[in-house]
Every structure is written in C-alpha cells, then in structure tokens.
C-alpha cells in the first residue's frame, strides 16, 4: 500500500510542477497595459513624482536655468561609426558635452584610464563621474549620461528638469524594477544626476559606501544612488506617457495583440503602455539609434511637422481641455 501511495503523491507533484514549469516559460505573469484612456492615473492632479510647490513655478527654475552636461560613453572603436553622428546631431544641443573613452584623442575624447569592454563599463562610469566632479562640477547643474547609440532631445529634457531643484539628490531616467528596491535607471536610455546626486555618488566611493560590486553599470549606479539616498524620479508626462526609452520607438508604439509583457518591457518599473500612448510628445530619449538614424530622428524632431497646429506652451495643462477620449496618434 505505502509504496503505491508514495508513487501516487510523487506523480502528483511531478505532474503539477511540470505543467507549472511549462506554463511559466510561456506565460510570465504580468500583462502589458495596452491602452490607457485619458491617462486616468494622472488626472487627479496628485503627482507623487513632482514636488507640488515647484510645478507652476517657472520663475525660479525657468528652462533657461537647466544647464546640462552630457557625457557620452564611447570608445575608440565607435568614434567614426557612431559618436561622430551624435556629435553632429544632438550633442550640439547640450550646454556642454564630453566624450568619455579609454584613450585621449582630438575628437575630442576624455581619457579615463580604464580599458574597453563590457566588463569595464562600471569602472568607466565611476571614473567618468569622478572626472566630471573634479573638473566640471560648477559648469553645469545636471549631468546626463548617454551611450553613443542613444538619441536625446535635449530641449525636452531641459523642460522636465526645469521643474526640479538641482541641489536636491535626484536621479532620472527609464526606471527599472529588478534588483534594487527603489529601482534603477536604464543605462542605454540615458540617465540624469542632479548636482547633489553627483556629489553623493563621488562621496560614496570616497567613503567606501559605494563600491565596484558589479559590472552591470546601470544597476550598480542605481545601488549607489539608493545607498546614498538619492531619490529616483518619475519622469512620465501628465498623461502617463514615458519620456526615456531603452529601445527605438517601434518597440513601443506599434500596438500588438494583448499578451504577457514582452521581453523588452520586462524590467519596466511602471506598467508599460503599448500603442500611441507609449511615448510622450515631448520625448527625451531613444536607444539603439545608430549612425544614420540619428540624422533621421533629428529631421523628424526638429523639422517635420503638420502645418496649422499651434502647440500649447504648457503641455501639463492639457488635463482639463483633454476630455475627449484619446483615440490615439
């Protein structure tokens, strides 16, 4: 009798777990929220992410006052094929731009005294931030990290930053959920440190509170930010649309059948939206934008537009006017 029951139970458990395993490999738990009508979680005016007192204040933090230092993570291998095009397109819109490499050149690039390679990315980041802290801290009040295949609309970033105080410890970008309890910002989509955040990062390494514990650059920066009590910011616009993107537009705006969260959205902290409401009109960044695509995006952002529309100055105040259901696009 006993062996029989035992075998039965073992069989039961085996069957149970096998099916469970099978299903889990096809069906991750979360769903992609396909369509958010009216961005309803934004409408009530309660914004956990922006400091309420700063929202309507343009005097103290007018767009003029956000001075952004852009530093581009690159290397000798990519100067011709990628970085050159960043320099020719959006690099020019930054208040100051630095190209961080392992080798000093006339590009001009900054030499970081770190070798190339994926496993050295965090070392490069640490050295780059220390370099900036040492030489350029007073030259800017916000510090953007981007890759040589990131495309950034600097004006839109300025607009977002104008609502915040650079003397507060803040950290913005495409927020990811895993590994760090307060989340961390995607490296490829670009992330921004406030002046105070940069100070804390450097201090953290000085005191040993932050260390090189991983080669995964963006996650490691996030850990240091958490340790040094730097706050991550929700950079979505008033309709809940994302501004920083870790992939090109086609991964987000083309709506597919309702399905479990696809691989490229698995890490997203906020439930990603697929379809025309994925991305803010005043988008800040896209990633995996190579060479010629930089010029294409430059044209599409700064030139191509439909005639006859005067866009309102303050897109935040669209809430009351926008009662019509968003049909998208």
């Amino acid at each position: 009798m006993r062996p029989k029951d035992l075998m039965f139970t073992i069989g039961l458990m085996t069957g149970f777990f096998t099916l469970h395993l099978l299903l889990n490999s096809i069906v991750p738990m979360e769903q992609v929220s396909v369509y958010v009508r009216n961005g309803n979680h934004r409408l009530n005016g309660h914004n956990a992410h922006t400091e309420p007192s700063k929202r309507n204040n343009s005097a103290g933090n007018s767009p003029n006052s956000a001075r952004i230092l852009c530093w581009i993570m690159t290397g000798p291998k990519y100067l011709e094929s990628r970085t050159k095009h960043v320099k020719a397109t959006w690099g020019k819109h930054c208040h100051k731009v630095l190209y961080m490499s392992s080798v000093k050149t006339d590009f001009p690039t900054v030499e970081l005294n770190v070798s190339e390679g994926r496993e050295n990315l965090y070392w490069k980041t640490i050295r780059a931030l220390q370099y900036i802290h040492q030489h350029h801290l007073d030259g800017a009040n916000w510090f953007l990290k981007a890759d040589d295949d990131t495309y950034v609309v600097v004006e839109n970033l300025k607009y977002i930053l104008s609502k915040f105080d650079p003397e507060k410890p803040l950290y913005m970008g495409r927020r990811f959920k895993p590994f760090i309890s307060q989340g961390y910002m995607s490296g490829g989509a670009g992330y921004v440190l406030s002046k105070e955040a940069l100070r804390r990062f450097v201090r953290g390494f000085h005191t040993g509170e932050c260390t090189h514990f991983s080669t995964i650059e963006d996650m490691a920066v996030g850990k240091c930010m958490e340790t040094m009590k730097v706050e991550p910011v929700d950079t979505r616009d008033m309709k809940g649309r994302q501004t920083f993107h870790s992939y090109p537009l086609d991964h987000y705006v083309i709506r597919q059948q309702r399905r479990p969260r696809p691989w490229h959205m698995i890490y997203d902290y906020y439930t990603p939206i697929e379809g025309p409401n994925c991305c803010s009109d005043l988008v800040v960044s896209f990633h995996y934008i190579y060479a010629v695509q930089q010029y294409v995006l430059e044209y599409l952002t700064y030139h191509l537009r439909p005639y006859g529309y005067i866009y309102r100055f303050r897109p935040d105040e669209s809430v009351e006017a926008d009662n019509k259901t968003n049909r998208g696009a």
């Binding site: 062996p3 767009p63 004006e155 700064y302 439909p306 866009y311 696009a329």
Partner: protein, 394 residues
C-alpha cells in the same frame, strides 16, 4: 504485482496533478495568451468596427471623416480652417492581398486626416470597405486601376471634394501639409502636384509612389479626355501614362516645393533622402525635374509624402510627424500663411507665436539659419537653397 502497482500509481498521480493545475490556472492562463485563429480575429474585427464608428461615417464604399482635428486640446484653428476650405479625397491603391497587411495600417494612421478616403481594389469588400474596380491585380494593371479609380471618384464624389489625391498603400501622407501647399490654389485651376520627374514628357510627370493630387478641374479634364479618346491606355507605367494624359488635356504640372525650394513629395523613406548617397548611375538623378539636395535640405519641414513605408512605419511616422517635437524650439522654416487666409488669422497666430517665445525664454534655433521667409506675411522671392546649404553638416 507490486512494482506494476506503484508505477501505475505514479502515472495516475502525474495525470491528476497535471489536470489539477490546469483547472486551477485556466482562468489566469487564458487571459494571458490571446488564442491564435478565429477567436482572436473575430473579437479583433469587432473591436475595429466599433472603433470605426467614431472616426468615420461609412457611405457608398467611402469613409467620411468625422473626427477632425486629431490634436485634442491644441490650437488647431488654422488646421481646421484649411480642413474645411481645402477638401481632399484620398484614394489608396490597394488589393485584396494587401488589406490586412498594408491598407489597414494606412486606414488607421494618415488616412484619418483626409476629408474622405476611398480604398481602391480589384475586388469589392463591403466591410473594409474597398471599391471593386473590376480589374485584375498586378503591375500591368496599375494604369487601368488608376483610370477606373479616378473615374469612380469623379462619378461619386466630384462635388464633395476639391482635390483628389492618389496614394499607394505604402505611401505615408501628411495631409495637413498637403492642404497648406494647395491653399494657394483653387480647385478650378487645371493643375496637379507631386514629385516631378522630367523624362519622356515635355512638362514632366509626377511619381506614382510618392503620390500625386489633381484639382477638381484636372480630374474633370482627365475624365473628359477618356470620353473623347484624347487620352487612352498608352502604357501600364501608371505615373508616366498619367503625365502624358495630363499634358494632352492641358493640365499644368505644378511645382510642389516649399518657398525655400525644398521638395515636399518624396519617392523614398526619410532615411534615404536624408542620409543615403545614391550612386550617380541611379535613375533618380536623371529623373528628378528639380535639382536634388542630399542631407537635411532634401526635405521640407512641411513635407507631404514618403514612399516605401511599411506597416509599422505608418505608426512610427504618425507619431514622429504629429507628436514628437522639441519643446520651445524655433524652427528653421516658418511656412508662410497661405494668401487667402492671411487677413483672417495671421494676426492672432502671430501674437500667439510671439507669446510662446516670450514665456519659454528659450531661443534655440536651427543651424541652417535661412532668412526667415516671413514675419507671418508675404514671403517675397524665396532665397535659393542649393548646393551651399547641402554642404552644411546638419
């Protein structure tokens, strides 16, 4: 007996375990996976039909726009005015095999900005809806389809639109910019616009893929031309044949470039016009009527069309054209207000523009600082933008 018995128990247990988990997970599981096949398609189709109700009125195989403007909450007075005054019927050349893969995406993106849109196919489809032209499919049928399509548009919609645009199901059109371009003309002029090519004809002809638009008078003459046998099916090369007929019936081939001589209709995707270095032997060089600019001066800020745009590209371009913009940015080119609309609106538009700049305080501007052709008023002779500007890096 014993070993057999316990193995049997194992199997039974396995089956029971599997079934149990299945039963428990079933509600969650089916929610997650959209079943392929009929079930998925039916509900999808139903959703689409419901969505359509708010956007169009379907009548006589045409879709009449109900939903303009598309920028809710923005100041669209000028766009609205042009929408009402410059009425465009868009007809899209497609076929039964392309409805799901291509035409559908045209339908849900740029065709929503037309006053009326008609999808022309060889076979009628009352649901989509498409018009059945009674031809076969294939490249050699293109001019037959075009002839019949224009005749259909004339017979059914001549009084409901001022201009008649032909586009492919892989053409992306920014209809608001087309209205700007046409606003300085009237539908009684015998004229048509597109990307002008020069060979084989005296006055040139318009590229088919980039799309072309006929005035109502041009359309009337086209139909008359076939009635009087002045025009016939000369060749299956649709755009050339069209150009030949237009020439014969006295319709002028218009210059569709903006006031800085940048092209507005484009036979390729933006990427190619902006960055590709076409080899000098490529046909494009010898076909274009006007001098070609490579780089950022290839394409007007108020471009009208791009060709060879795939399904996904439709959604991308819709976002890029209608949504993506840089905050507070002063554009390199301010399209002059069309003459007929100047007195009515230009004053209020100007003051709004100035107010915007004041508040934003950000005076960034484009690199190739052409002398701004207007302060809202008449452009005067446009500065020639030729090889010099093309040399600038951005």
């Amino acid at each position: 007996m014993k070993p057999l018995g316990s193995r049997f128990s194992f199997y039974v247990g396995f089956v029971v375990g599997t079934v149990l988990l299945y039963v428990i997970l079933r509600p969650v599981w089916f929610e997650g996976i959209q079943l392929a096949g009929n079930y998925g398609k039916l509900s999808d189709r139903q959703q689409q039909l419901d969505k359509d109700k708010g956007i169009w009125k379907k009548e006589r195989s045409a879709l009449f726009n109900l939903d303009h403007p598309h920028h809710t909450g923005e100041d669209s007075r000028m766009a609205d005015k042009l929408y009402n005054k410059v009425r465009i019927l868009c007809w899209v050349m497609t076929g039964p095999n392309n409805l799901e893969t291509k035409a559908r995406h045209v339908k849900y993106t740029w065709s929503r900005h037309c006053n009326i849109v008609v999808f022309m196919s060889s076979v009628e489809d009352p649901d989509f809806p498409t018009v059945g032209l009674g031809t076969k499919e294939g490249r050699d049928q293109l001019y037959w389809k075009t002839i019949k399509a224009f005749h259909y548009a004339y017979e059914h919609h001549a009084n409901e639109a001022d201009w008649f645009l032909k586009a492919d199901d892989d053409t992306y059109v920014i209809v608001d910019n087309l209205r700007w371009m046409l606003a300085n003309h009237t539908p009684d002029e015998p004229i048509y616009f597109g990307r002008r090519f020069k060979p084989y004809t005296k006055q040139g002809y318009m590229s088919g893929g980039a799309g072309y638009v006929l005035s109502r008078e041009a359309l009337r003459r086209f139909v008359e031309g076939f009635k009087n046998k002045v025009c016939t099916h000369t060749t299956s090369v649709e755009d050339l044949a069209m150009g030949q007929c237009m020439e014969k019936v006295g319709v002028l081939a218009g210059d569709s470039r903006d006031t800085t001589q940048r092209e507005t209709f484009h036979p390729f995707v933006p990427e190619q016009h902006l960055t590709a270095k076409f080899p000098k032997s490529f046909w494009y060089w010898s076909y274009c009527y006007y001098p070609i600019s490579e780089g950022p001066n290839c394409c007007s800020d108020v471009s009208v069309s791009f060709h060879y745009v795939d399904a996904g590209g439709m959604y991308l371009l819709e976002y890029y054209a209608y949504h993506l913009r840089a905050f507070g940015y002063r554009y390199r080119y301010q399209p002059p207000t069309p003459k007929a609309y100047r007195l009515e609106l230009s004053n209020s538009l100007d003051s709004a523009g100035e107010l915007k700049e004041e508040i934003s305080g950000v005076k960034e501007h484009g690199d190739d600082d052409l002398p701004r052709p207007d302060q809202g008023q008449d452009a005067g002779p446009p500065p020639v933008v030729g090889k010099d500007a093309a040399a600038a890096p951005v």
